[in-house]
Symmetry: C2
Subunit: 331 residues, 2 copies
Amino acid sequence: MSPDPTPHIAITAGDPRGVGLELMLQALGKNPPPAHYTLIAPPQLVESMIEKLPHPKPKIKSIRKGDVPNGTVSLLPCAGEVELEDVGKLDQETSARIALASLDRAIELAVEGRFSAIVTAPLSKSAINRLLPGFVGQTEYLAERSGADEPTMLFWRPQLSLALVTRHLPLSRVADALTVDTITRTILALTELLQAMGEPSPRIAVCALNPHAGEDGILGDEEGEIISPAIEALQRRGMEVTGPLPADSLLTRIKPGEYHGVTAMYHDQGLIFFKSLGPGVNVTWGLPFVRTSPDHGPAFDLAGSGDADVESTKMAIKLAVDLVKGGGGKR
Amino acid sequence: MSPDPTPHIAITAGDPRGVGLELMLQALGKNPPPAHYTLIAPPQLVESMIEKLPHPKPKIKSIRKGDVPNGTVSLLPCAGEVELEDVGKLDQETSARIALASLDRAIELAVEGRFSAIVTAPLSKSAINRLLPGFVGQTEYLAERSGADEPTMLFWRPQLSLALVTRHLPLSRVADALTVDTITRTILALTELLQAMGEPSPRIAVCALNPHAGEDGILGDEEGEIISPAIEALQRRGMEVTGPLPADSLLTRIKPGEYHGVTAMYHDQGLIFFKSLGPGVNVTWGLPFVRTSPDHGPAFDLAGSGDADVESTKMAIKLAVDLVKGGGGKR
């Protein structure tokens, strides 16, 4: 046993032109669950942002270098080479450099075992892509940099969670990316998340890929050839998995408590439904550490306005702490 | 001018094992808008169904052959060769024959000009497909049989309508089916529906195809190459068309009154959103006659239970009458 069981949580800066960092600062100021939090960001930027945040100011007890005791937030500087004159005048490239430096440092230290979880702030994929061609999302980048080649993208809310079989992929490539193996792995990851959050025998509904669930093969054959075999094999293992169901019917008629989780075949299929439920948490399953994130983007139009909703960020921090304590979410 | 301006509306039977016909009978009994209605179904089936419908029984004033005056419903027999012993024991093939015979007769008479609109009851695509290989949906069939090769699938509700650029297509074929022309035509059809329903300058939002609207080309190039050019050309014509917008953000944050209509690229993208709003009407645009339908399937599990919601069927009948009166919906 570790001498100090308190979770060590890294918090990344995300793209500082967006709402991510200011929401992290707000959330950390509002009685976050007991943990050691280390915010990885340029100090000048953090100070300036706290100053500009609307009242009531977040009560961050201590912002200084190095680890500090429980209940306070450590600040680990990153992107030291970046010169900051005015947060409001940050250009896209500088912001992307900060976002990437913060994320890289968090991964490096989490892989070394210094952090048991990373809570990431949102960034601009296209801005990062200009520095780092091929970057399609933090989920894929975290997996690649930590040596985990098969991450699963999950979304958590108290009543109903979501898993995506494919993630950041052009729609034209979704059908080819479905295999019995990817579908099985995704449903198992969702099951593990739900079990880690206290549901021993989760009931999971699985969306079809095609309209009307392929209508017995007339509108596509992936249901019969790929999705059903994956579901049936899991059913034979005693799991309560139902589907493939027509996504539009399933996701618009689902009753509270009917299922604990839904598995969708692709990004928009799952998220057009999930985001309508309210704030949620993006969870990456299968990394060597826990990773959570608010389920929204950088929302550049809301930055500095005070109008961005902190709820998803608070939920992401709490879920990271809960998963570290429960031992879930890691490969 | 016609000597009798009252709309002549055909009502099809759909698959009699489902809820379609019983909902049509209920809706026709509850003060439908003034029109001449002709129900196309086997008389024995209709009588038996009215008898079995839960109280309060629909007040259908007259069921008999041939046209009757306004305020009553005519019954035009179809599928005369089908022997009906017990509605509850109809097999799949017999039901499909009834559904198809009713639909065929409605189209034939509408093309001849006897009906100005058809309101179709839901059927089972896969059951029809066994009689008629290649059948993928009533929308496509209506278009083919009436000589209209480019129908548009629209969905109407009082506050917000929806258009689908692609309809009953396997997901793997959606991306290839998008062209500047199909997108333009779909947006124009939606605009015409909204104008016919009283909104002279409709505001329309257009969904992206790929996650995050392609994230500047990283997650797909259809946004830049196909969808944006279509939208920009319509904007240059003075239309209020916005997009392409990331579908999950657009459809979960849309505010009442912000847009009059949404154009989605494929079936589930639009319907996972639209069906969550409540009952709606499926409208086919571009036929030689008006065609509406409730926006749900045959719901075999609810047939005869009295639990099926008649609202969408009532809305479909009312919209057909309104469109005929307003002169909209026809090629």
